[in-house]
Symmetry: D2
Subunit: 174 residues, 4 copies
């Protein structure tokens, strides 16, 4: 996609997330939980701005659109076996979801990795809801919960980079 | 999937590759081209054995089955836009295919990376055919050519690891 | 290194870890904490065996030997600035330690990523001790704590792969 | 490092590269060779600007400073065995150099991977010189040649992203 299409795809990503039950403010809340103790004065608006910047990256958009498409096709039973069962069951040994999430998390460097792992294991807030929805009903969120954790981890890393090691600087970095 | 299902999924992967026009002997030929000058006496059978060992890895199977499933759904027009156009056109700025291929290539460590990049750029043999088929017809091989290059690069790395830096040892390593 | 040198380097890695205060049984205890609730009957000996298999991989040995060498040189003040201060202070924005740890964690696929992130954030047992030693004294463990977390995460992933999604199989996979 | 120190470390990176015989214009020339056929009108100055932007990233600076420090210590015989011999000999099975280079290449997404692999195998221009210097003399460039290839690949990916799939847009993207 040429650069001029990025806003359009940005909109496509926000719409795709919304259709799957994910509001950007939910992701911003996860980021705030992760970073507020390190960054006094950090607001939810700061976190939302950081989430938006992560979602403006082409690599991030591609990973989210691809992962959600696979979830949806699994939900509709349109994948071939054995892949269908692996994804519908959210097999803990399936790793492609983590691979896509890692590509998102790395957008602001490897320091996002720690937060991604923490979120993926502890599943605070929205993540627990997605995970439960995926396991108890006909919804499939095998990719989605990892993708959202990846976006939150990247947004937290972006804030950390912008504030420096002592988190005293005021302006997030570009 | 429990370990006992691995042979079954191994069969699923070989069948999925065959349905998309890829024989294991084609991949073995690429591996032989890559490694024979470094490993005098390397046979096509050695290469085929190495390809089979790569395809026995769960991580590799998952990446291949997922990538081919996305190709097939793109071919059938079943993906949402803008993802459908990006994948059908094999947009050079789409990077999710390389991400999955990298997960394959890394199965035997990062030394496979160099061969993957070389294959992905030069597209010898089968890879050129897949790429041309994908660009000129209704076939979509956006993921497949990268996945096959990833398998060949990993199989070559496995041979290199088994023979050591001077490639004099006879037995591939486990 | 030819394959026949692997045992030798395996010994070099165990010795390098011991010199830095890390016993394999400490790593095995972390693995046991991670996996025992998912794998009833898992023993410390099972975990130790899995740690040893991770440490037998060339890629893992190289990452550990390189990371420890950089820690030691930082301790002796032998690195140039600004790198010396970044590593001695364990700057939270330094990401090369996570990059090396990720290469270890990925040896058994991306499912190790979640445990790595959790360990790196929660720092149970040995990891807290390494981290405190590095921050309060003249010891530098900037790489070491991440490398150990990476080994533990990979060993846990290996156990999970061996036991399958329901963790009922008895024998770890190769 | 707080954001305000980035220019300082940027200077440190340029100086460290210069001390090891690498001018930014040499890297720009590699980028131009990679991209000029896809981007009519691309100038060496465009490529130099892209190289500078890659070198302004903290993650890139950290990887370069760490890798060069290890090369220098190997040159001075200050690393422990068996790591010293592995790095002085530029053992083809050593993969930590590729791991650091990959962290650089990924700064603008995974599309840089292909060019990295190509450069690492074909070693055009400066890269051949670094490789030969490292193999024939007392210089050690085990990390440096991969790091430089990683920077060139990332700079080429940045140009490709900025110009879109048909490379007709005039302004590189941020």
């Amino acid at each position: 996609m040429p650069e001029r299409n990025l806003p359009e795809n940005g909109g496509a990503v926000v719409a795709a997330l919304a259709q799957r039950g994910v509001a950007l403010s939910d992701i911003a809340a996860i980021v705030h939980d992760l970073q507020s103790k390190h960054c006094p004065g950090l607001t939810l608006d700061d976190c939302l701005e950081s989430v938006r910047k992560v979602l403006a990256k082409r690599e991030v958009q591609q990973a989210i659109l691809t992962g959600i498409a696979v979830d949806v096709m699994a939900e509709r039973g349109m994948l071939p076996e054995p892949l269908l069962t692996i994804i519908v069951d959210d097999d803990p040994l399936f790793g492609v979801d983590e691979i896509l999430a890692l590509a998102i998390t790395n957008v602001y460097g490897s320091i996002g990795l720690t937060n991604f792992g923490y979120l993926d294991r502890e599943k605070p807030g929205l993540l627990a809801r997605l995970n439960a929805g995926g396991r108890n009903s006909r919804e499939v969120h095998t990719f989605l919960d990892d993708l959202v954790a990846g976006v939150a981890a990247a947004a937290a890393a972006k804030i950390a980079h912008g504030r420096g090691p002592r988190h005293t600087a005021r302006r997030p970095a570009p």
